[in-house]
Symmetry: C2
Subunit: 203 residues, 2 copies
DNA sequence: TCTATCATGTAACCAGTTACATGATTTT
DNA sequence: AAAATCATGTAACTGGTTACATGATAGA
């Protein structure tokens, strides 16, 4: 039972994580997140950065520490994690690790409706997907390998390894699926093609 | 490059799919979606139903056909798919089948931050996750089996089979991951435990 | 010095969810 | 006849994204 968090945006979790190491200004948070490659795992943009910092502050998880000034730039408010923020961070992360979430990936939706396409088109599209999946796999593989070559510990790459694992599972699934459609003996294509006989007219 | 759709909510895709078979009233759409089990693949609720129908109508993908009346109930506007809606439906579904989307599952976010937990706690939580994953697997397996027993064609269960495949991949991944942490020879636990020596103080 | 990019913030807009409201059937 | 639940819709709120705005530094 996913507890209702006062702040639900995962960007907040990443922020609390960084702030647990040292207080920071908003912009530094953004830069750190960007440079650290967290954007691959957590969606964020300039706008949400401000929004989420506001939410965290209102919830009492972070607090203004001081307002520094560097050069002639505008003031920069430094935020620090509060004790309550630290507790929330741990609890939330623990929940995310233990409890699988019911999510709604686009491909699941596509599969649930794929019968609406004629079987030969479905197969054609699925084969295209296989190409894309291979490309993506190569990309992630490369990203991991270059990071490892730069001595990034494997621990900091687990999320990418996980992506790879899921990607491989999806690839196998799609291959098997196209097989089940096209098998000359037991393939679904004929039956499938039937309820595409008379398409309903447009309006 | 995921084209920018005029209506982006996947609920709209499911609606167009049903409307491509026959015109319907909003409430029927909701009921059909519910009874058909689409809620497992596509998030929707009473409120979004109205919103999305409005969006589809404004975009010209569906149009009012007639307003019927049954018994003493309020009028019910019947919507039908337009030709432009039919085209959009096909194009969108094709895109979803061919193009893997970059998504942000919660577990990926959790993994990207898991180093913030002490290794032994991480392992404990991951093992709890394994239990949950097994439960979920059993549930989906059961759902598939009862459906098959009721002669639902396998084609209409592919999205659940896909879930199973992904679930299995995740299970293997988590098992391997815990192994890499706890291995008595080469495990990451010692090094990992080190940068948890002195936690920064709360504010 | 001009231009690009960095750094910083606000305002307006759109999507999505929740809560409210209400009459019509069906069940007890 | 009361209670439940079905059927239907609107309004208000919240979260998130996009667009606008602007001064500061760095590079050409």
């Amino acid at each position: 039972m996913a507890t209702k968090r006062k702040v639900g945006n995962l960007l907040a979790l990443a922020m609390m994580s960084y702030l647990s190491q040292q207080p920071m200004h908003r912009y530094d948070l953004g830069r750190t997140l960007r440079d650290h490659g967290d954007a691959r795992s957590i969606k964020f943009n300039h706008g949400s950065l401000y929004m989420v910092v506001g939410q965290l502050a209102r919830a009492g998880y972070i607090t203004e520490l001081e307002t520094g000034r560097a050069g002639q730039r505008p003031e920069r408010t430094i935020y620090g994690l509060t004790d309550s923020g630290r507790a929330e961070f741990r609890a939330w992360l623990a929940e995310l690790v233990t409890e699988p979430q019911h999510e709604y990936p686009h491909f699941v939706a596509a599969l649930s409706l794929i019968a609406a396409l004629p079987p030969d088109e479905a197969v054609r599209l699925l084969r295209q997907r296989l190409d894309r999946l291979r490309e993506e796999r190569a990309e992630i593989r490369g990203l991991i390998d270059t990071s490892l070559a730069q001595n990034v510990p494997e621990l900091f790459l687990v999320e990418e390894e996980y992506r790879l694992a899921v990607l491989d599972a999806e690839t196998s699934f799609v291959e098997e699926f196209t097989g089940k459609i096209t098998d000359p003996e037991t393939g679904w294509a004929p039956a499938w093609a039937q309820f595409h006989s008379q398409p309903a007219p447009g309006v």
